[in-house]
Each structure stands twice: as C-alpha cells, then as structure tokens.
C-alpha cells in the first residue's frame, strides 16, 4: 500500500510539472519573454549603467589669460574625462550655462593666477560643479583635482631649474586597481543586472503564474483532487527554478561573448548561489501570491517588494555605506546576498569557502520564506 502511495506522490508531481511546462511554452508571450528579456536586458542595459566619467561638459572662465592659465586649460582639453565646450569671461553667462544644463562644471581662473605662480605663491582656481547628482559630482571633483594635481606636477618639474632646490619631502603614491584594472564599470554592473534578471523571472513571472490560476479558478479543480499542498507548490516552483537558472546561464554567456567579462571564480559556485537564491525568491513569490486576489494586485505588491530589496541591496551603491538600520535590513534581503556572491565570485574568484556565510544565510532565508508560504497556502477553507 505504501509503495502505491509513494508512486502516486512522485508521479503526481511529475504530471503537474509537465502540465506547467506545457502551459508556459504554449503561452507565446511568456515563452518569448523568457529568452528575450535576458538578452535585451544584458545587451541594452549593461553598457548603459555606468558611472564612468566621460565627456563632462566644462565651461572655462579665464580672466587671467596667461601661459599658466592656458596651460591648465589645454591640460583639461586633453583629458578624456572632460570636454571643454564653452569659454567665457562672464560669471553670469557661465551660471546661465549651468542652469540651462549646457555644462556641468565651471572652472573659474581669476586674474593674477599666472603671476602668483610665477612668484612662488599658490594660484587659486574655483570649480563650480552641478551637484544635483551627488555621486557624479564627487567623482568629477576627484578627477578634476587629479588633472590639476598633474598640472601642478608639470609646473614643478618645468621650473625645477629656476627655483632654489630645497629638499621637499614627498610621498610618492602609486595606485592600482585590482580585478578590474581599467575600472571597467561593466564588470561591476553585469553581476548586478544578472541579479535583477533572475529576481524578475522568479518573483514576477513565476508569481504571476501562480496568481493567474487563482484568478481564473483552475485552482479549485486541483483542490478536489488527491493532489496535496506540497505537490502543487513544488510543481509551481520547479519550472521557474529551472528557467531562472537557464536565464542566469544565458546572461553569463552574453556577458562573456558580448562584453568579455572575466570570470575569475567557479561557475558551479555561481550556480549554487543562484539556485538557493531562486528558491528564496520563489518562496517569496508564493507567499505574496497568497495575499493577492488578482494578477494586478500581485504585480504591484511584488514589484514594490522587488524595488525595495533591489535598492537596498547595494546594486548601485555600496551597501556598507548605508546606515546601520539599513544594513540590518539586508540581513533578510536575499538580493543583497546574491549581489555580493555574484560580484565576489565573478570578479575576485571567491570560493565557496569565502562565501560560505552568505550561502548559509541565503539558505536560511530560502527555508524561511518557503515555510511561510507553504503554511499560509491552504487547500481547505
């Protein structure tokens, strides 16, 4: 008797999963989306999401008009970070440009600049930066100071013969960037986009699917059959778990082929992280679906949740810079974990041992969400 029961169990799940796959692939829209979305997202979004400073529009007010001031300007013109597109004598005009979004930085070289430098006194310049976007403003300032520092060095070495030689203590600083020598932003963002991808598939597509059955009413028919709670749940989650992993693989492939992203660590580790993450997300999707009567409601709640998790996860900004309460929140934020895991494995080659704490926590979250979902999901009223 027991063996027949066991048989029913496994076969039931098998039949249910098969039905799910048939339905998914028969739905022309979804079946296309599953492959189109990763491809489009990767190709379109990855090159775009960058903080790399390029072509910052710079307006120059040169009231000095000396070789020194012109030297500084040409140094800026030669820099790949800035594009000197305006030159004026009037502060008002320059401010106007700033208001009108025609430039982002104004460099004001007052008269007397060259004279001061010639006399051994420091020359002052004033940079005005449109700081609405605080992070690009800071980065622009960092690069601007860098160019000015370089120019500073140029002046010193030029005049090394004319000024008295006093041994000036100098600390020579060299700096290097590891794992991403050229500070290629794509390397940073691609793992992030991958996470968005996998989350979207798990939370949005899968959950919508679950709610649709509820909304249409087919769930009632399943309820009267011997199908047990966990059969139904496994059958709902399994296909999207698989699809999520396939999309992860697809995303990685595109990353490699289109952008030549390095992959320092082990692919298996990546997939391990991804698998556990998907379980967490699918459990969450199921949980949310128990609160939603319609697809629209579900979409909203799920989207809301996804946005919050994503913003807090450190995808665009470093999670460590967040206040303590935010970092505490991230303890239950599965996206934060996958973000870390992906970046560490892909770029630094971190091993399972290195990320073990993240993996354990993710597994705990996955168990938690799924248990919550299963207990809320009732077959009998």
């Amino acid at each position: 008797m027991t063996t027949i029961l066991e048989e029913i169990n496994m076969r039931t799940i098998f039949y249910l999963i098969r039905k799910e796959f048939i339905q998914i692939f028969r739905n022309k829209f979804i079946s296309k989306a599953i492959f189109a979305v990763p491809i489009v997202q990767m190709l379109l979004l990855v090159p775009a999401v960058t903080f790399e400073i390029k072509n910052i529009k710079l307006a120059v007010i040169d009231k000095d008009m000396t070789p020194e001031s012109r030297g500084l300007i040409s140094k800026l013109e030669g820099s790949k970070f800035f594009k000197v597109n305006f030159s004026t004598f009037s502060e008002n005009e320059a401010n106007d440009l700033l208001h009108g979004n025609k430039c982002t930085v104004i460099l004001n070289i007052p008269s007397g600049f060259g004279k001061d430098i010639g006399n051994g006194k420091p020359g002052k310049v004033l940079a005005t930066i449109d700081a609405i976007n605080a992070s690009t403003a800071e980065l622009s300032w960092a690069y601007l100071s860098g160019v000015i520092r370089d120019y500073n060095m140029d002046i010193i070495t030029e005049n090394i013969n004319t000024t008295p030689v006093i041994p000036i203590p100098q600390i020579l600083v060299t700096n290097r960037y590891w794992y991403n020598e050229l500070l290629n932003y794509k390397f940073y963002m691609l793992p992030g986009i991958l996470v968005i991808l996998v989350t979207a598939i798990g939370l949005l597509l899968a959950g919508l699917n679950m709610v649709r059955e509820k909304e249409i009413g087919t769930i009632e028919q399943i309820n009267v059959t011997p199908v047990r709670k966990y059969h139904f749940i496994i059958a709902k989650m399994a296909p999207f778990w698989l699809i999520g992993l396939v999309d992860l693989a697809l995303g990685l492939l595109i990353g490699k082929l289109a952008f030549n992203i390095p992959f320092a660590g082990s692919i298996l580790t990546m997939f391990l992280g991804g698998s556990i993450f998907l379980i967490a997300v699918l459990g969450l999707a199921l949980f949310i679906s128990t609160f939603s009567g319609t697809q629209q409601q579900y979409m909203f709640i799920a989207f809301f949740t996804m946005m919050i998790f994503m913003l807090m996860s450190g995808i665009f900004t470093p999670a460590e810079s967040m206040p303590m309460w935010a970092q505490d929140f991230n303890l239950i934020n599965p996206v934060a974990y996958l973000m870390r895991i992906n970046r560490m494995v892909m770029l630094k080659g971190s091993t399972i041992h290195d990320i073990r704490i993240d993996l354990y926590s993710l597994a705990a979250i996955a168990t938690c969400f799924t248990t919550l979902a299963v207990s809320r999901y009732r077959k009998t009223a």
Binding site: R11, F14, I22, N223, V224, A381
Partner: protein, 275 residues
C-alpha cells in the same frame, strides 16, 4: 450500511453568525442519481464543498465513500470525481494532455490512461479532437469531456455542479445519457441543477431552502405528495425563499423558456439495482 455512499447527520456549517447549512441529514445510495436542488443562496454549494472535501463542517457527521470528512479528506478525494460549471479543464492544454494530467493525478498507470483515452474519444466520437486545445472546442463538447475526465479513474461518486448550464437541448440529452450510463456502472452521481426537467430523471431528489432540506424523495412521490404535475411545481410550492434573503428570483425560472428535455433513453436500472 454497505449500500450507502454518502451519509450526513446533522451537518451544520456557519460562516460567522450566518448559518449556511442548518442541520442537514440525508443518505445517498450506491449507483443512485441523486439530484440536489434549491434556490440560489439556499446552501447547495456550501454543502457540496463539504462533501467533496473542499471545506470542513462546523459540526455534524459527514461520511463520503466510507471516509470521514474531518480526518480522512485525502482518501475522500481519491475516491470522488468533480465537475463544476465554471471550470474543469485547462484551456491551454489539449484534450489528450488534460486527460493524461488528471489520469496521472489520480494515480492511474500510463498504459491504463492511454487505453481510457482511446475508449473515451471513440465513445464521444471525437478522435480528431485529440490534439486540439480545449479553448478551441465548443461548450457542449467541453462539458461532455469534462464529465468523462471526472469519472476517468472510476470513482465511487461523482459530483456534478450544474453541468449542463448554457448547453443546447440535444447536448443536454446526450449528457444525461452519459449520466445514466455512469450510474449503471455503479458510480453514484450527485448532481445539482436548475433545470427542473432534469430533476425528473433523477432517482431521488432533495430540495434545499434557507439552509435546510425541505424535501427528499423520488420525483414521483414528491409530485403525489404536493399534488403537482411536475417537479417544477413542487419546487415552486416549497422552495419559496425567505423574504429576508436578497433572492427574489427562484432558480430555474428560465425553464419555462427552454424546450422540454426529450426523455433520454435509460437502460435497465434505477435504484432497484442490487450490487
């Protein structure tokens, strides 16, 4: 008793303070075609949901197919079939895929399922629809198919919730022929309907009103008892809803506009069968 497949004693179902099922007691016997009638809001759907294991009673004893509804719901489910009007089959699956799914869910072996598919398609004369999506089928065919799927696994009882709604008279007749044939095989048919003429062809019917059963007998006996020519008259006489309920229409008002169902052929049988 060996012949009883459903036994209900003092079933009460409350939703808050509203009593949907008020002390129901009745029995259904094996191989019967049992008609379950009542106005909208009388408590029929609630009762069926309890009998099919979808919900639990507030109090009372309910036994279906020999299993207790409180503690053996899963066994009940394995031994019953269910077909509701709203939905039965997955629209985006083909005929064959639906049958395979339900067969598998009820634990039938693959070879057995395949056999049954052939039998079924032959009997219903739609072999060519085997690989058609349900959404492509006309309503009548869908309902017949849904019924066949509901009894695919040879359950002891099949529950039919308004199975012939919206279907043309010829198809209705064919449907009832299927019901008869099923009953002959020993499967009990528990059917609710608004079509009073269909009620005539049940072995016994019960009429619910305001949560209580107000009549339970064979159609003939009821007609004699209430001095009525048709079951419809009986219904109108006793199923008058409480003026307090929002219902002002009786179920089955439309029957006046429907052409009478031509009595379907019925083979030897009825509640006189001995098994």
């Amino acid at each position: 008793m060996d012949n009883t497949v459903i036994s209900v004693h003092n079933l009460v179902k409350k939703f808050g303070s509203f009593v949907a099922n008020d002390n129901l007691s009745f029995e259904v016997f094996k191989g019967e075609i049992f008609g379950f009638l009542g106005a909208n809001g009388a408590g029929k759907t609630t009762a069926i949901r309890i009998l099919s294991g979808l919900s639990k009673p507030t109090s009372g004893e309910v036994n279906v197919a020999g299993f207790d509804t409180y503690s053996q719901t899963e066994q009940i489910k394995r031994n019953i079939g269910y077909m509701c009007q709203k939905f039965s089959l997955y629209e985006d699956l083909t005929v064959k895929e639906n049958i395979m799914l339900y067969g598998g869910i009820y634990g039938m072996k693959k070879t057995l399922i395949k056999e049954r598919i052939h039998e079924l398609l032959e009997k219903l004369h739609f072999e060519e629809y085997e690989n058609r999506l349900i959404s492509d089928l006309p309503l009548g065919l869908r309902q017949k198919l849904a019924f066949s799927v509901a009894i695919l696994h040879e359950p002891k009882i099949v529950f039919l919730d308004e199975p012939t709604g919206g279907v043309d008279p010829i198809t209705r007749r064919q449907f009832w022929e299927m019901i008869y044939e099923t009953a002959t095989r020993g499967i009990t048919v528990f059917v609710t309907t608004h079509y009073m003429d269909e009620a005539e062809y049940c072995d016994r019917i019960s009429i619910m009103s305001d949560g209580k059963i107000v009549a339970l007998d064979t159609p003939d006996n009821l007609k004699k008892q209430y001095n009525a020519a048709t079951v419809e008259e009986v219904f109108i006489k006793i199923a008058r809803p409480n003026p307090a309920t929002p219902q002002s229409r009786l179920g089955g008002t439309n029957t006046q506009h429907h052409s009478k169902l031509i009595p379907p052929k019925r083979e030897q049988g009825g509640q006189n069968r001995d098994r």
